[in-house]
Symmetry: C2
Subunit: 336 residues, 2 copies
């Protein structure tokens, strides 16, 4: 500490070590050459003073921050949480720091954009965006300034690199599974695009595939997870569907809860399927029939794609599409 109580700077360390501040800088940045003697004098002085490097000042003058910005829509959900952690790990492996911005269910579009801009203001060298809400055009604008990779959701804009799971393949495959087990009339929960781009497209794929297979579809549009009891009640009254396909595991659980409240057994009376296959809802104790997304792979690849743009000049934007796998559980049963 200096007399004034503010934290010590390299100047203080230099004075105490009896060297110039340049030497202190070299010791901490690892650039240039420093004699063993000087190095140890600096380190001792720093330790005695309790010196901590000021990362902002450092990156200000070097104009490099060595930092990646990650934005996830809602880190409290297993899906985004997993993505966030995988990305952090990968970034750490390759020597980058990460600053994270996360919203929550309560964040609206403007809030998300503001959070994204904060990240840019913090001089992150690249941006990893995970949100089913942000529109493509909003991203294109920011991608022009900062290298940006979208992860976990389909992205069509040419200039934006992305890594995501094939929602159509997943939705169709899961629909195949349900149809294979003999269901001839199925309720499909279909969120709107404004709620989630990924969920709406996978749900549409489910419905489309079922129709192709000659299965009758009872679509329920724009349901919010809190209001799932109503549609479920109606389903039971009309009494047609033998299965409900939900656009996520969380929604599937909500449906199961609503069914149980009405005394309906799963899967004996009605089958239910989910989507995501992420811990902890993938537990065999629950046995949810679902579609597992390879989130770890998505996270890793997204980081790697971003680094490729950073290090190796500017490779053209690319779109990596990954496939998931069927998680056949106990909640979708064969119809007799």
């Amino acid at each position: 500490m200096r007399g004034d109580g503010r934290p010590p700077t390299i100047i203080d360390v230099a004075a105490r070590a009896g060297v110039s501040k340049s030497m202190v800088s070299r010791v901490y940045s690892g650039r240039g050459s420093v004699s063993a003697d000087t190095r140890s004098k600096v380190l001792t002085a720093a330790a005695e003073l309790g010196y901590v490097r000021n990362a902002m000042a450092a990156s200000m003058s070097s104009t490099r921050t060595n930092t990646l910005g990650v934005f996830v829509r809602d880190a409290s959900t297993p899906f985004y949480g997993r993505l966030l952690v995988t990305m952090s790990e990968r970034a750490a492996e390759v020597g980058y720091r990460v600053v994270v911005a996360t919203g929550s269910g309560t964040f609206d579009l403007d809030d998300e954009l503001r959070a994204l801009d904060h990240l840019v203001e913090m001089q992150v060298e690249g941006l990893l965006v995970c949100s089913g809400l942000l529109s493509s055009s909003d991203l294109v604008i920011r991608a022009a300034r900062t290298p940006l990779v979208v992860a976990g959701r389909p992205e069509t804009a040419e200039t934006v690199t992305s890594v995501y799971c094939d929602e159509v393949h997943g939705g169709r495959s899961l629909a195949d599974h349900v149809a294979d087990l003999g269901h001839r009339r199925v309720t499909v929960l279909q969120p709107g695009e404004h709620q989630s781009l990924t969920m709406s497209s996978r749900a549409r794929a489910m419905a489309d595939r079922l129709l192709e297979l000659g299965v009758t579809v009872d679509p329920v549009r724009d349901v919010r997870i809190e209001d799932v009891q109503g549609p479920v009640d109606r389903l039971l009254e009309s009494g047609g569907s033998t299965a409900v396909m939900a656009p996520s595991d969380r929604d599937a659980l909500a449906v199961m809860a609503a069914l149980r409240r009405r005394g309906v057994r799963v899967p004996e009376d009605v089958s239910v399927s989910g989507y995501d296959g992420v811990a902890p809802l993938d537990s065999p104790a629950i046995g949810l029939t679902s579609w597992a997304q390879p989130l770890r792979e998505v996270g890793r690849r997204a980081v790697d794609a971003l680094l490729a743009r950073l290090d190796g000049g500017a490779p053209a934007a690319q779109h990596q599409v990954l496939l998931g796998t069927l998680q056949a559980g106990r909640t979708v049963a064969r119809v007799h």
Copy 2:
């Protein structure tokens, strides 16, 4: 952009708007007064140039970053994810930015300390730490330099402020519930302190309380969630316990999965209880008997406690203990 391709600065904006760079600074920082005319000239020039404020430079000269650092052990788990999001929301409400560092199951102690130090180097004004792993003494050292609040786990050090749930109360209450339902012999999964401070103390509280009530306890120490099948098998062979108390909901699910693999029904044959009560495992569709921690309250209060230390000088370190509530589900049944 300037000729050299680097992003524009306030100087470029000032030149284009025909004012001094101070005016640009004032417009963006909101300090000092600016005429409507100047403001609009600046804003137009900035927009034309695609100017983005450099937050690092700004906080360098103001020596205020307006940023809080949050460290969570593993954001991919609902527990820490929820805490992280609540804190972010609260910080945003009160006008602070947040930079997050998260590890994962693979982070060891050194990794966590390094991540924590990164946050300090980034000049966060305060630190919110959520980890059952970091030792008290490691935190005390850092708390001397940066205001620090520990959230979500008991903290005894006098100099560190903390907000957490009463693990002993929770563990005992849950044990009461199990005993009330007639269980006279119970298996308790007890992780070691090195695995998690919170889980080990709540599990010990469960066991202690059961013993007080004259219930026979079969303790299983230091189990890792991956190896839960062994203890479960042994329990079934000895055939004594009518219930298993797990130290977390996730562990409870693992136990249920292991039981199911052996063809044992829950709760008809064996009862199982968890701990945490956090979404999505709190779904009525699962019906897990658990102890719900008021995580949102913990997160909010932790932020507020930190702000109190920041704004209002240096109030003495305080420890806020919150109580949870019993989540009576269907996985613990009455014994006849």
